[in-house]
Amino acid sequence: MDPPASPSQAAFDAERTWRGIRQVLDFGDRLDFVFLQFADPTVFEAWRFALRAWAREQGLRWSEPAAADSILDWLEGERRRGVSLEQSGQAERPREVYLGVIPQSDDEGTLFARINENRDNLVRALNGTLCLCGSGDFVRRLAYAAPSIWAMRTRSFDLVGPPPASAPASAAATHLESLGATLSMRRSTVTEAFDLDAFISASPRDEREARSLADRLTGEGLSVRVGTGGKDHEAMERARFVVVLLSREYVYSKAWEAVQNSRLAREQPESLKQRFVPILFGDAAIPGLLRDSTPLDFRTPESRARDTERLLLRLRGERERSAGPGLAPAPPVLSTDTGWLDKVPLDFSHPSVRELLNVLISAYPYVDSVKRIARSAAIPLDHIRTEEGISTQWHDLLEQAAVKSRLRPLMDILLRDPDTEGHHPALRRIAGHT
């Protein structure tokens, strides 16, 4: 299929395009779908930075997937966040900007299909503008492959040339950077051009823990990437915070080498204290390079729960509440008079088990959620039939949790999941907590 010719660069009106996109970001009704089509990735990067800088100037929340995330995982995270906000009964949600690039690849059709299927779910949960971006004749491919999204389009734009001079100054600097400006220019902007909220550095042996933490953080709307190898310098520099999982193996790993050899460590050692967040994990010591950073403690379930909250506060840029040396430990949430929680095999005819199953199906209707919770609760996925329906998956997960004596930790994790706060009263009741 041949597309008609695209508009030429000569006819491109950067100022009008800039104004048009901003108008949609700024003023709309519920969720607007905007399509950004580009030929030159460098030009698109300049637009992305310009729009992000402008959105931040306007106080609009900006969200895009981290480099390691799939667009579907990111959208699902945003959807869950939106549902949670809707459940919280906030009177008027401010508009937000969600921007995702769909790469032209063999997977593109599948990505279009999944986004198309979830249109109504996204419309119900997101608030603001969803910018879907791609190269070549992206809009045509999208219209053909995702007709439901196409039918709801607000505007589409061809980003044929760079953004206009009126784009925010910081973005203009980044624009120059993306067009190949000098290293000194780059160094002056390195702390501003973050496109990741956090980079988690971990040894390969701790990768599972790192991914579990990453899932928790992305579930909170943060963009996170995990690195366990020696070639992650670039991602590290793009992250506002570098979270270091300090286990006994870590200091012997390539991941630690990557941290030591990073430009941050070599050129901006003064930034380490602000940007590096060591987490004591297992039997570990703090290496000299990080001696000025205050570590978080993940060595016990209690300290882990407490310091996960502290980590979230820090990554979000919020001040930690002072409660002695750390946050006050969370109150225990489970009472001890709930024998069914310890019974193996789990009795699915018990009213509490049945109610728990129902609550879980309502609270977490997607397979990604099942996997996330299973990972968080250290329940292996081997015996969970993830290709089956959601009810069966939760059925299997509960069964496995009982077999592994992880039902109580599982309840604890569920009760701390802020995404499903609306279900916490029911979960507390089921767990016998008063």
Binding site: P4, A143, S391
Partner: protein, 464 residues
């Protein structure tokens, strides 16, 4: 068109007051179905069929309603078709209200809540979705009455006959179908969720019944007969079941062709199953269905299509805008708010109307573009002039043209020249269906139905 007295000198509003007004207009132009039972919502309904010249043909629900009124106690089965965003759900809700006022018990099913509209549809998962919807809607109607328990028994019997436990043991347990708590209320919502959200479950349902549809049909018919007794009584007029949203079945990505073929098969090969004993049924369907199978319309008691608003005549090669269509669309806009304060003249409003090709959702979207430009001005009390409005029109045209492949231009040119959508071979039928989905080809009516390409395509063809 006249501009005389179009705009009285408006009293300038304070900035916050004007912004509030523009925000309200923005919300008024969001496209969502109108609920006629909600008085505030019902005020937004615009009856195009009552306008002089009937630019959208006669009352779209008239044939559907009359079929039922003429045969109140005999089951009927009808199709209501049209493009997304043209007001089908609103019209079906109006029909539902009118039939209830005539004494018919009516169940309105939002199909997308019970059926995964993006995966290939088979008769088994469609009817299972219908049974789930009827069960859940009846549970809500019956409330705590003694009949609620009877309904629960009917549901248990139905799910037992179709062996749902064998299809998904976890779901059956979650729904309360296990042996431990037979007295509990059957949680049909779980089934709804699985059917609409979980392609794996849908595939299992399809696999389970592919070789034994007769068993499924028998169980379904028995359940629907009992549901009718609970809902409408054994005597009197048949209750009405309206299943909306099936026009949204389109598939996506590589699934599309398969999905379109499957829906054609459901509506053609299983019309007997869609006609439910003791019920009047109305099924929404995609507008491309008659192109996939020209005999489909004859298999039902009525096939009704909701067209676009006619803005030019079928026989006019120049497509000069017709007064009736423009006038109706202006009234439609003014019903939603003070649109005359947004642009400098009625002629500019008409330019926006014409470029929408008579598609009300696209016109609403164009008005939202107008609102964005108004609110961005130094003084949002100022209406937009011709330069800005034409820019909005050009942007809309350019955006829609981005969806056109040059391969489709020959077919589009034939439609533009003949106002007919005739296929010379069956090979391109799914491709043509896609042109309806992307709204590059429109359907209009004055007397009979006719076709034309949308205004952006007209301009693309004119530019050679």
């Amino acid at each position: 068109m006249t501009n005389v007295d179009f705009k009285e000198a408006p009293k300038a509003k304070s900035l916050p007051e004007r912004i509030r007004e523009l925000r309200a207009l923005m919300a008024a132009f969001s496209v969502r179905p109108i609920d006629p039972t909600n008085p505030a919502d019902a005020r937004r309904y615009f009856p195009f069929h009552k306008e002089p010249g009937r630019p959208r043909g006669r009352d779209p629900i008239q044939d559907l309603r009359n079929t039922i009124l003429l045969l109140p106690e005999t089951e009927t089965c009808q199709i209501f078709s049209g493009f997304q965003g043209t007001g089908k759900s609103t019209e079906l809700r109006r029909l539902s209200l009118e039939l209830q006022e005539q004494g018919f018990p009516v169940l309105f099913v939002e199909g997308a809540s019970y059926i995964n509209i993006y995966e290939p549809l088979e008769i088994s998962d469609l009817l299972l979705g219908v049974a789930a919807a009827v069960g859940e809607l009846l549970q809500a109607r019956l409330g705590k009455s003694p009949l609620e328990r009877t309904l629960g028994e009917h549901l248990i019997e139905f799910f037992s006959r179709i062996k749902l436990t064998q299809i998904d043991v976890g779901l059956s347990a979650a729904m309360g179908l296990g042996p431990h708590a037979p007295e509990a209320k059957i949680d049909v919502a779980k089934l709804r969720l699985e059917l609409s959200q979980n392609p794996a479950f849908k595939a299992k349902v399809q696999d389970a019944f592919r070789g034994s549809l007769r068993v499924f049909f028998d169980a379904f018919s028995a359940f629907m007969r009992k549901a009718r007794e609970l809902f409408g009584g054994e005597a009197g007029p048949c209750p009405v079941l309206i299943v909306d949203d099936l026009e949204k079945i389109q598939g996506s990505g590589q699934q599309q062709d398969h999905v379109q073929r499957q829906i054609e098969q459901v509506f053609s090969a299983f019309s007997h199953a869609l006609k439910i004993d003791g019920w009047h049924t109305i099924w929404a369907s995609p507008p491309y269905l008659p192109f996939l199978n020209t005999a489909i319309a004859q298999q039902y008691d009525a096939y009704v299509l909701l067209p676009m608003v006619r803005l030019w005549d079928e026989t006019d090669p120049a497509r000069k805008p017709v007064t009736e269509g423009l006038s109706a669309m202006r009234k439609f806009l003014r019903l939603r708010g003070d649109v005359d304060s947004l642009v400098q003249s009625e002629a500019l409003l008409d330019e926006l109307i014409v470029v929408s090709s008579g598609h009300v959702r696209d016109l609403c979207r164009l008005m939202q573009d107008v609102l964005r430009d108004v609110v961005s001005q130094d003084d949002p009390n100022e209406p937009l002039g011709p330069a800005v409005v034409r820019q909005i029109v050009n942007d809309y045209v350019a955006g829609a043209q981005r969806a056109v492949y040059t391969d489709d231009l020959p077919f589009l040119r034939v439609v533009a020249d003949t106002r007919r959508a005739v296929l010379s071979s069956g090979a391109h039928v799914l491709r043509v269906a896609k042109l309806f989905d992307t709204q590059l080809v429109m359907i209009y009516r004055n007397g009979g139905e006719w076709f034309d390409v949308s205004v952006p395509v007209q301009r693309l063809l004119a530019a050679g």
